[in-house]
């Protein structure tokens, strides 16, 4: 279970997150919505420790992130992120993108990582692209590869930053279906989006950030 309590974050004098609190269960699909500049992406970045938090706490299955804390590796492993522009590594094939992190962390052997990656790539319907490089794939394929890369570390919560921003309606529907499939694996899904239609289709709960701010 993810519990965010009184989370605040400022950049200089600009307060981006002001005492934000909410919680979500492991199997939930939560869409975080709000106007641009409300701090949706900042919240995801705090959750993924790409930003430090000014005050408040983030708890996930007994792990806690709080103010002034150094990077927590166990927390980092428990949270995955699919970036808006995917950020796949262009000099690695899709398979290498997927297997290198778990092998680096010695979570599994290379052989096991390949088996797991191939199975996930198959589920995401891009197994045939496993030896391709990211620059040769479409936006939707890159996104699915990025999802597999994130899932390889078995996150408890998988975050998506604007997953439909670069996709047409048909691809967005496919992404929604895939996200629903992922949530069946007991992965909590936290999505930042502006797309009301997508949010209604995919989510079990919609949180509007402007209503959370104290």
């Amino acid at each position: 279970m993810l519990i965010i309590k009184n989370l605040s974050k400022s950049f200089g004098k600009k307060k981006v997150l002001n005492n934000v609190s909410f919680c979500m269960d492991d199997h939930e699909i939560v869409c975080l919505m709000g106007k641009s500049g409300m701090g949706k992406t900042t919240l995801l970045r705090c959750l993924n420790q790409l930003e430090t938090i000014d005050s408040g706490t983030i708890q996930l299955n007994g792990l806690t992130l709080s103010t002034g804390q150094k990077k927590d590796k166990a927390f980092q492993k428990a949270v995955g992120l699919v970036f808006q522009n995917y950020n796949l590594f262009p000099h690695w094939t899709i398979l290498e993108n997927c297997i290198n992190a778990p092998v680096y962390h010695q979570l599994m052997s290379k052989k096991e990582a390949i088996q797991k990656a191939e199975s996930l790539l198959q589920e995401m319907q891009i197994l045939e692209e496993k030896n391709s490089y990211p620059n040769t794939l479409s936006g939707g394929q890159k996104q699915r590869a990025a999802i597999v890369r994130a899932c390889m570390l078995d996150p408890k919560i998988l975050c998506f930053d604007e997953p439909t921003s670069a996709l047409d309606a048909e691809s967005a529907r496919k992404v929604a279906a895939m996200i629903k499939e992922l949530s069946k694996k007991e992965i909590g899904i936290l999505i930042v989006t502006h797309d009301e239609h997508f949010a209604e289709e995919v989510s079990t709960k919609i949180i509007r950030l402007d209503e959370l701010t104290a």
């Binding site: 992120l81 796949l88 262009p90 000099h91 962390h105 490089y133 040769t136 570390l153």
Partner: protein
């Protein structure tokens, strides 16, 4: 036939030229990669030293640097032989140029790549060595190639320290036989060297590009 008399001295001169080129390149590029990596860590005092080093090396002629090392240092109690002076001046000068090129390459890598590494839990060192540096090297390879061609031609500067490289061999032949023809042969040999280097560089560049190199 004149050409028969020229073959041996020009061949010997070419060997010296190639030796200076190979040693300078083999030492200065890895050294520049190492120093540029330290520079990327952004430690203020170290970077100030690097900036000063690069400013001096790039802002003064290589010829002057060579003469300073060979003729100037003995006045300060440091006497180096001709070969050591040549290699020291060349390696320092080209290390500075390569460092600047690599700095540009490292800065050109999208910051999202480093964030993706963080989210996947790679250490700073692993992120740099496995993700940032390979992309930086690929991005700045054409500029490194330009420097390689310049280096081949710059080897002619060592003639001022009395080293018997290709240009000196040609000049001696011109004086001995009273004809400008040896200069034409010298030009042809330089062209052959630079053309071969360019061919190899293009092949390497293509190999480094994951999409083209497939």
């Amino acid at each position: 036939m004149l050409i028969g008399k020229l073959i041996l001295p020009l061949f010997e001169g070419t060997l010296v030229t190639l030796q200076v080129f190979a040693i300078t390149f083999a030492v200065s590029l890895p050294l520049a990669i190492l120093l540029a990596s330290i520079q990327a860590a952004r430690i203020k005092i170290i970077n100030l030293f690097f900036q000063l080093f690069i400013m001096i090396e790039r802002g003064t002629p290589l010829l002057l640097q060579m003469m300073f090392v060979f003729f100037g240092l003995p006045y300060m109690g440091v006497t180096l032989d001709r070969e050591t002076s040549i290699y020291l001046a060349f390696v320092l000068n080209y290390t500075a140029y390569f460092m600047e090129i690599l700095r540009g390459g490292i800065n050109s890598v999208d910051s999202g790549q480093l964030e993706a590494c963080q989210v996947l839990g790679y250490s700073r060192f692993a992120s740099y060595v496995r993700v940032i540096l390979p992309q930086a090297l690929q991005a700045c390879f054409p500029s490194i190639g330009n420097e390689v061609l310049t280096l081949i031609k710059d080897t002619s500067l060592i003639t001022v320290l009395g080293a018997s490289e290709l240009l000196k061999a040609g000049r001696s032949a011109v004086n001995t036989y009273g004809t400008a023809v040896p200069f034409i042969y010298v030009g042809i040999i330089y062209l052959m060297l630079t053309t071969t280097a360019e061919f190899l560089l293009k092949k390497t560049e293509k190999k480094m590009d994951p999409v083209q190199g497939e």
